[in-house]
Structure formats: structure tokens, C-alpha cells
Symmetry: C2
Subunit: 84 residues, 2 copies
């Protein structure tokens, strides 16, 4: 079984209101030394044993389905290459 993680983050020039909200809430926890918070998606995908081109298929899934390439970047990491 091959496991793949796709991380999808907003591009750095795109405003991240969710991250800003967390940043604004940190002083209430007593944390005052954070300069930036950015929030994105982490997607964990598990493939069948038989699949050969796990990384290629994951790139297609990320590009077509998980990320909006206009405003988001993504990275694909194959965690478990047993079946690749």
C-alpha cells in the first residue's frame, strides 16, 4: 500500500483570512511571538498495492481536484514506497 500526502497552501501573495484570525487569537493564549500563520489543506491518499505510477497519479489528482492553481501551490510526498 502506497501512502501519499498532498499539502495545499495558498500562495504567499494571497491573503489568508483564516490564518489571520488564528494569529489575532494567539495573544489570548499568552503567545505573543508569532509573526505569521498560514492555514492550508493536508490530504492523505492511500493507493492499492498494484498501482505503479503513484506519484504521477497523485500529481494529476492534486492539480485537477485538490488545488486551485490560480491561488494555491501544492506539494506531493510519497510516504510509503513499498508498492511503487
Amino acid at each position: 500500500m502506497a501512502r501519499v500526502v498532498v499539502d495545499v497552501m495558498l500562495k504567499s501573495e494571497i491573503l489568508d483570512p483564516q490564518g489571520e484570525a488564528v494569529l489575532g487569537a494567539l495573544p489570548r493564549l499568552g503567545v505573543n511571538d508569532v509573526t505569521s500563520v498560514r492555514i492550508g489543506k493536508r490530504v492523505e491518499i492511500e493507493f492499492d498495492d498494484a498501482v505503479q505510477n503513484v506519484e504521477e497519479q497523485s500529481q494529476i489528482i492534486a492539480d485537477k481536484l485538490l488545488a486551485n492553481p490560480v491561488i494555491e501551490n501544492f506539494t506531493v510526498s510519497v510516504l510509503d514506497e513499498d508498492a511503487v
Copy 2:
């Protein structure tokens, strides 16, 4: 500057409708060999140079603010230890 990544995922026994929706859409992309998709949050936090206890503070932020410990697990990874 210390960078920390907090990954927040639903516990495995909790239903993930967003992941199920992605899984159901994959055949339309021609991908039929995926057995599971789980979707969570990736939070990137940047601390000031001066901060000493980056990991401890990140654990507090994740536990109190980013994750719901009833239904979610989180992992804290310190990426850049220059300032620690």
C-alpha cells in the same frame, strides 16, 4: 526565525465526508486505484527569532486553538531550528 508545521487530521474512526467526496470524484479523473482519502488542515506558524520554547508554544496553540481533541489528532513539526 523558527518555522513550525502543525498537521491536524480527523481521528481514523471519525467519518470524513470531504475525503469521501474526493474519493467519489476520482473515477471521473480516470483514477480507480485509491482506497482512501482523508482531508485535514496544515498550519504553518512562524515565530520571532527570540523565542526559546517554540515546540512547547506550538503544542499549546495546536491543543487549545487549532485542533478539537475530541475528534482530531495533531502533530507538531519544528522545521527550522535556527532560533531554538
